[in-house]
Symmetry: C2
Subunit: 261 residues, 2 copies
DNA sequence: GAGTGGTCTAGACCACTAT
DNA sequence: TAGTGGTCTAGACCACTCC
């Protein structure tokens, strides 16, 4: 018992899943049954299942059971250049296209506004990112994106009010936000910068995304730049890690990491 | 008790940590003491501490205790363009510069080869990524990168043997691998593609990286392309999520996600 | 109403660290 | 040797789903 009982059970189940002895979509035996099968207590089995869930091999649902396979495929989110032959949801960089992308993937998308979009005063971080003064008004959207009744991610986004304030009163439908920006203000988005970290979710994130305490999330801070050298969006995104693959394609212009300090 | 006792305790401790009532670096009371303090069982306290650990607010050490604050700062890993005013470890895209970058950050770097570098037969995935035939020989390196005695990441990397095979017998020191490639074979690396997912670690990963079962990792698959339209590296990287921030900067050339199917 | 996962309890033994 | 976190046990109650 090198690694502990929970680990042993996880390994045993992992092998059965990998070898497709237990097929994808199948329900596992109940925690109580597995405990009996392995002559151990239920808490230990739960530990094993938590491990497999964290690895993305199984999904667990209260009152229903544990099932082999992720709830669904991870979504590809690509950045920068084209990516050819993959099912691609290029939506992370394209405000407003979550719905379209999900429909293209055959899912039932849904967007839930957790707050009424409104004008709020910029705090220190938002002011710094949007290059405005603290306290300046910004247009805020706070929403939850869902597909097939499964929460995918939380997006808290801020936009300069002089450019976007009128969105309080007009409705652009599902037209991409930045397409509207160009048509309305002749400003083009040119590039984006993202900082990405992975961690476990906080309680409020867990609650909104309906994930278990041991499920990791990916937190992305994004700023979007324009051809007039002015940021037009700062967004804080919390994505359910198990549902995403992030794809990046970037140029290498130098191999020498040295920089002037 | 809306969210459960463990959540309540985590919230209580979280607040004390955030408000600096408990200062960074301080040891928390023992799990048994906290259990008594909150009139609960030790398992519930452990659940609370697991939550805080996953969020990166505390660190736990067997036989020693739980301490406020992450082990160290997250490292910035940037991609693509320059990023100006940040402490930047641009090393992920630069084979061979982990040591230099860590030294620049004032850390004590160390690289541990888990296997002797060798020529192995390419499996299906490697062959596909490097655009060679299955069974062709590839140069394999499998190593663990450590800083200040703390494992940072595992790298399993493969290179075409016709270009890199001679590295079995010669030693290029700490010269970046791709700089050597250009000098030796006049081949320049031009861009890289990365797929990134976050999940919990598998047992073997946990063991090598010395992290707890609930600690998330970031798995990156990377292929490096060259000016002769030929991939020269395929790497599978497992990074301890708590130690990294990934930074990407990319152009937006279109806002329309539509593509020909 | 039977069965499920989510949570909690009050113990226990272990390997390891610090003194 | 006393104290720590890591692991495990054998129960328990709850809210919920499915039949």
């Amino acid at each position: 018992m090198e690694l502990g009982k929970a680990e042993d059970i996880a390994q045993s189940l992992r092998q059965k899943i990998m070898s497709e002895e237990i097929q994808s979509g199948t329900r596992l035996n109940s925690e109580r049954d597995i405990a009996e099968e392995y002559h151990t207590s239920r808490m230990t089995v739960r530990r094993a299942l938590e491990i497999l869930e964290g690895e993305g091999l199984i999904t667990r649902h209260p009152s229903r059971g544990s099932f082999v396979g992720g709830t669904r495929e991870r979504i590809l989110v690509d950045k920068g250049r084209e990516i050819s032959n993959a099912v691609t949801a290029s939506e992370l960089r394209l405000s407003g296209s979550f719905i379209k992308d999900m429909e293209r993937l055959g899912r039932k998308p849904q967007v839930q506004f957790l707050e009424q979009p409104s004008l709020v005063a910029a705090d220190t971080q938002i002011a710094e990112q949007l290059k405005i003064k603290e306290g300046d008004l910004v247009f805020k959207r706070y929403r939850l994106q869902i597909a097939d009744n499964l929460p995918y991610r939380l997006i808290e986004s801020y936009y300069p009010s002089d450019l976007f304030g009128e969105l309080l009163t007009i409705n652009i439908g599902d037209k991409p936000l930045f397409q509207w920006l160009q048509e309305r203000h002749k400003i083009k988005v040119t590039h984006a910068k993202e900082n990405l970290i992975a961690r476990l979710a906080t309680p409020s994130e867990r609650q909104l995304l309906k994930i278990s305490p041991s499920a990791p999330i990916v937190a992305v801070d994004r700023t979007v730049q324009t051809n007039v050298n002015r940021p037009v969006e700062f967004a804080h995104i919390i994505a359910v890690a198990a549902l995403y693959i992030f794809t990046y394609d970037y140029d290498i212009t130098e191999w020498n990491g040295e920089k002037k300090a």
